[in-house]
Amino acid sequence: MDTQAPLSLKLLPALLVAAALALPAASHAQDKPIRIGLVTFLSGPAAGPFGVPAKMAAEAIVESLNAGKVPAPYAAKGFGGTPIELAIIDEAGGATKQVAEFRNLVERQNVDFVIGYIGSGDCLAIAPVAEEMKKLTVLFDCGTPRIFEDASYKYVFRTRSHATMDAVAGALYLLDAKPGMKNYAGINQNYAYGQDSWTDFTAVMSALRPKVEVTTSQMPKFGAGQYGPEISALLQTNSDVIHSSLWGGDLEAFMLQAMPRNMFASSQLILVAGEPYLHRLPGNIPDGTIIGARGPNGAYAQKSALKDWLIQAYKQKAGIEPNYPAYSVAMAFLGLKAAFEKAKARSGEDTEAVIKALEFSTFDSPSGKVMMKLGKGHQAVTGTAYGATKTVNGQITLTNIKYYPVEQVQPPEGVKSLDWIKDGMKPGKW
């Protein structure tokens, strides 16, 4: 014990200084910034392609907003003149851990709003908890349609379209590109997103072209890494088309192992979630691969001042162009900001007023116009786009881009996605 005493004595002055430094911050409490909890993958396989780009985009957006450098209609500093700050949490660890982290964010970190969640499982788990804790939570990237189709929430919003349109637009694009296709195979990860993608896609295909057959559906384990037998099985089916929702490291490993085996010499490849890591695949992706970006994001976003702003702000931080998770997170911040400012001008900035303002709102984003039209005004809809790869000077570019309006790719309010698909995808009234 004796030997430890001098150490704590040495530490004491440091502690006092630290406490003194903390004081001025506390005394600024009256114009305290708006605190936003940001939950995104900082570790694990989803960090590289989705989580970290989303985090870097969020930081760039917050800096830019606080400096008042965002183009109209978002020129006001921060949220309605008040600066914003982030409390960033790692989404890794599963839904149970995330529920605990969410409570921490609300009760200990005292955040005013939460923007977060890439994993569909996390979104499904968080939504009821956010409702119970009455904390306005904006889901920014997860895709499952079930959130607002199976339940309704007051405090939960999602500012990006759900994943149904990925399958619908993907199939439409594919049938345009390969009208004579006779069959297709799939390779998707054996977990919620991979299974949903495959189920949706097969449903759309059998609605649009009942005669086209499924040759095989490979469902490797998430993170499997070795795809030798799967590739052999796919090669043997000799399918016209191969559908895949693989992403990140699994997609890269699959492409690395499939390319030398001439897999795509006679099979058209469609990657529903292929956009985020496209810049990493030169040489490992055949020209003409159909690529989805889960909305009109990235290269599919039409030119606008907001798009230019996001690209510039993100590039400064990350050194490369933003991918779709960066666009998703931008939608969340800008949608919330627009609602906050509308509420402030109307009645006040309390959560109830912001909710009223965000419901059924329409706002501009780097990906174009976003309409909060589903899920009783809590679920965003946008059109979407698909394109095909073409390698130019060692860089992968997207060409032959086609846009699909909302009514063509999304079920209207009150109709569940799978029912709508099976019913022939009749355009609803929007």
Partner: protein, 303 residues
């Protein structure tokens, strides 16, 4: 017929990969009675170090064929550095403790190493790839069997697995060092009393085991994108292989790898929806019949 052939080839390739990964795990357990969870991290370290070494090689513009030497060098360096550091710096203080304690210690080590890898290499997946996209995986060209194309690199994998198995078997059965090792496996205390340097045996075994894990990582690196968390994925399947064969048994690891490889390939070709289930079903079935695995050595009774 073609499909059956494909199952055999795919199964054999996958089994070779599994064996290279699992053999170090079973070796360390056999000699030291440590179920080394950190084996997965050593595998990942081997892969990440390969990326660094091959990138440096390609960056200097050296001939691409030399990248294979870099893979080998990476495995040797990781084995010779991480093995001794972990054994001398941590494990040697814990010999004689309960096996469960050692599992927890190596699990803690696994978590630490995972974060260390993240600190050093970041979270972005990495490639073993030259500036013009040349990878050791595609460099050797392809071969075709029954209309199916395979990269020749897979033969390298099979070759390494077979050579590893032969060399290890020969060392254990035919050399003095191997006989001393078997003495330590059977009874550590008696062996020590007879004058065998048990500490040194453990040191060499662990370093060799670590190197084998790193070889697995280095050989895998060109076929995947090297990403944090890859170590966690292999430890589970390697454990399944070793348990099927019998913990600590060399022929057990080989047979376990072949069984898992063939079962997985067969289910992918014939019933893809059962793939996840099939491997663990076989493991459960084996354990019901032989709770200690197929090749478990009869327990030496101690009074």
């Amino acid at each position: 017929m073609v499909q059956l052939l494909a199952v055999l080839i795919d199964g054999l390739i996958y089994a070779s990969w599994l064996f290279i990964i699992a053999v170090g795990l079973t070796l360390i357990y056999g000699v030291m009675k440590i179920l080394n969870i950190a084996h997965g991290s050593l595998y990942a370290l081997g892969a990440f170090t390969s990326v660094t070494f091959t990138s440096a090689w390609f960056a200097h513009g050296y001939p691409a064929m030399g990248s294979y030497a870099m893979l080998a060098l990476a495995a040797v360096v990781v084995g010779l550095v991480a093995g001794p550091v972990i054994e001398r710096g941590l494990l040697r203080f814990l010999y004689g403790k309960d096996e469960v304690v050692l599992v927890l210690v190596t699990y803690a080590l696994f978590l630490i190493l995972e974060d260390l890898i993240k600190l050093v290499w970041g979270v972005d997946p990495l490639f073993v790839q030259g500036p013009k996209g040349e990878t050791p995986y595609a460099l050797l060209g392809n071969f075709s069997i029954g209309g199916l194309t395979y990269p020749t690199y897979n033969l390298l994998l099979v070759g390494v697995a077979i050579v590893t198995a032969i060399v290890l078997t020969w060392v254990l059965a035919r050399t003095r060092a191997g006989k001393l090792l078997i003495a330590v496996i059977h009874d550590r205390e008696t062996a020590a009393a007879m004058g065998i340097d048990v500490g040194r045996t453990y040191f060499v075994t662990f370093t060799l085991g670590a190197m084998l894990a790193a070889v697995g990582g280095a050989l895998t690196a060109p076929t995947v994108s090297v990403v944090t968390g890859m170590g966690a994925e292999v430890i589970v399947i390697a454990f399944a292989v070793v348990v099927i064969g019998g913990l600590g048994s060399l022929p057990g690891a080989a047979l376990g790898a072949v069984i898992v490889g063939l079962v997985r390939a067969a289910s992918i070709h014939y019933r893809p929806e059962l793939e996840l289930f099939a491997v663990y079903f076989v493991m459960a079935a084996v354990l019901i019949v032989r709770p200690k695995g197929l090749f478990s050595a009869a327990e030496v009774r101690k009074i």
